[in-house]
Amino acid sequence: MQDAPHNKALRAALDQTAAYGIQPTRSCHLRSPEDGARFVQRQIAGTLLARRLVFHIDGSKRLECDAAGGRLLRFCTYDPQGKVVFSGDFEDLSAAQGADAPLRVFSDSLPRSFLDAKTVSLHTLPMHDAPRTGGISAHHLAKALGLATPPVTPPQWFRTFIEDAKGAILAAAYLEDDLLYPLAGTDQDIDQLAENVAHLVPDIETLTSRATIPEDALIVLGTNNNATPNILFAAHNTSTLIALISPNTHTALTRKWYALRRAD
């Protein structure tokens, strides 16, 4: 099945598209080194085609990971001045040392890279000649990093809702566990969103509790303070959509939400 000509053609087309297509930069606000490690693990787990993932911590390149098929193939860490600190590869797991030594280096060095870090962003580059075997699985990586949570992509209707309600939504992100992943808005908008959420709810994990934001419900909170935008929450399975919204858009937003949920 894997060697069928149409599969080869499909793979080539996907590689070509992804290699030359535009990959938006993804970023994440951090509250602890563990947040950073989880972000890295999730990006590797979500990388199916061969890619070089370049992680910038607080604006400077600190980590490069070659990944394919949701597996980590190689890594290289940098100090803030851009000098290589550690590197390792997991391509040949039959070697005497196997994966244990480089994995230990990776899992020890990663939290140190994220010490006192505020943001991490991901830049994705194409990678050619990726090995088809070897590599550390995302699951194995999560265990080595002390993380057990599998990666989850946001429900498609979050994006559709944002697209439909473009004028009303100033910034949007989705919350998975305790990490915010931007969906719409500039970095500055997302910063403001993260700040507003932190002001509103110091323990962000409560927002993923369905006792706070019920499943299949939309909540919009408003203050009397004109400087604070209204904030919107919508829940779907383990994901929570959070958005800053313009004033006097409640009617439009709830109607769009009802229309979308009815069609879903």
Binding site: N196, H199, L200, V201, P202, T212, P214, D216, A217, L218, I219, V220, L221, G222, T223, N224, N225, T228, N248, T249, H250, T251, T254, R255, W257, Y258, R261
Partner: protein
């Protein structure tokens, strides 16, 4: 349905609506208002929610705190697709009337 409630004591103070709801449904609505308006309370007083909307398949719930820091709130239940933006202004005006001494519901 419009209910004026003390959400701290979870007590219904007054209500009006097209249908007569059983007391336990009014109490549930009061508890729901307390739960939704409690998101963010006690962290930053300036960020404390004064209004909240909870849209669900069964209807659209609108909660308006009577005044900043007040325990009283107006809890309204509307059909989906209602005009919420206008509801807020009407709700705030109604709260002013109620807290100003006119205890008779005008909604």
């Amino acid at each position: 349905m419009v209910v004026f409630a003390d959400i701290a004591a979870k007590t219904v103070l007054a209500w009006d609506g097209a249908l007569k709801w059983p007391q336990e449904h009014l109490d549930d609505l009061c508890a729901l208002a307390a739960q939704v308006l409690a998101i963010g309370v006690g962290v930053d007083p300036a960020a404390e929610p004064q209004t909240a909307i909870l849209a669900r398949a069964t209807g659209c719930f609108v909660f308006v705190r009577a005044a900043p820091g007040a325990n009283e709130a107006l809890c309204c239940v509307f059909a989906p697709y209602c005009d919420i933006d206008n509801t807020f202004a009407a709700g705030k005006a109604l709260c002013s009337d109620l807290l100003g001494g006119d205890q008779r519901m005008k909604a």
